[in-house]
Symmetry: C2
Subunit: 132 residues, 2 copies
């Protein structure tokens, strides 16, 4: 397996517009695009920084995993995502090494790309996403 | 102000050797170097991924801020660091915008580089480091 780069870093916030105040005004970043992810009950705004993007994530339903995370831990860093060459071979390698995953198969992430999530229990408490 | 790239992403762990198991064996990353930061009472291991590094951080004293974070929240994502062109002008711009900082002046970070930290209260709950 080879991680190509940090694809994005996700930050959960109660309100994207309010959250953008800091990243845009104070740090000078710009929103590349916004996207609604109905399956994950979130809306996201992507802000490029070099070859990486910051992903501000706002839950759209109180019942979503993201909303529960926000209620429990407050706003802040949520997960990091690495770009890999091939998601299917990556998945097979992780399974062969006994790494605990959130889903058994790739799911659709932002931009419709195939993603998998490694469970924080297998990754030093970090929710790790891998995207092709 | 212009953020050039994500310099590093810090992950706090109780034990670096144990923590490396996942990042090295499962994800195929390698340690570029290790460093002890006596002022911050930590040891760190840096693992490059593209233009960014993962920084595994282990507290070396129970009294350090990092040790208290670990005791309170468990292992996981701790802060993100962005590279900027000039730390002094960045500091002046942040102060002029009323952004809350951890220290009033730049301090020495890993590799002896000048760094500043933005307080999570000003940054959506995220501890943000800026390095020249």
């Amino acid at each position: 397996m080879r991680l190509l780069r940090v694809d994005h870093i996700a930050i959960v916030v109660p309100d994207i517009e309010e959250g953008l105040g800091f990243w845009q005004t104070a740090l000078g970043l710009s929103v590349d695009h916004r996207e609604e992810l109905p399956e994950q009950e979130t809306i996201v705004a992507m802000l490029p920084v070099g070859a990486t993007e910051l992903e501000l994530v706002q839950p759209t339903a109180d019942t979503s995993g993201m909303a529960r995370f926000l209620a429990r831990r407050g706003p802040g860093l949520h997960h990091i995502c690495f770009k890999v060459e091939n998601i299917e071979t990556t998945l097979a390698e992780l399974k062969a090494r006994g790494i605990r995953l959130i889903h058994d198969e790739p799911i659709a992430g932002a931009g419709g790309r195939k993603v998998i999530f490694v469970h924080p229990k297998s990754a030093c408490g970090v929710l790790v996403e891998l995207v092709e």
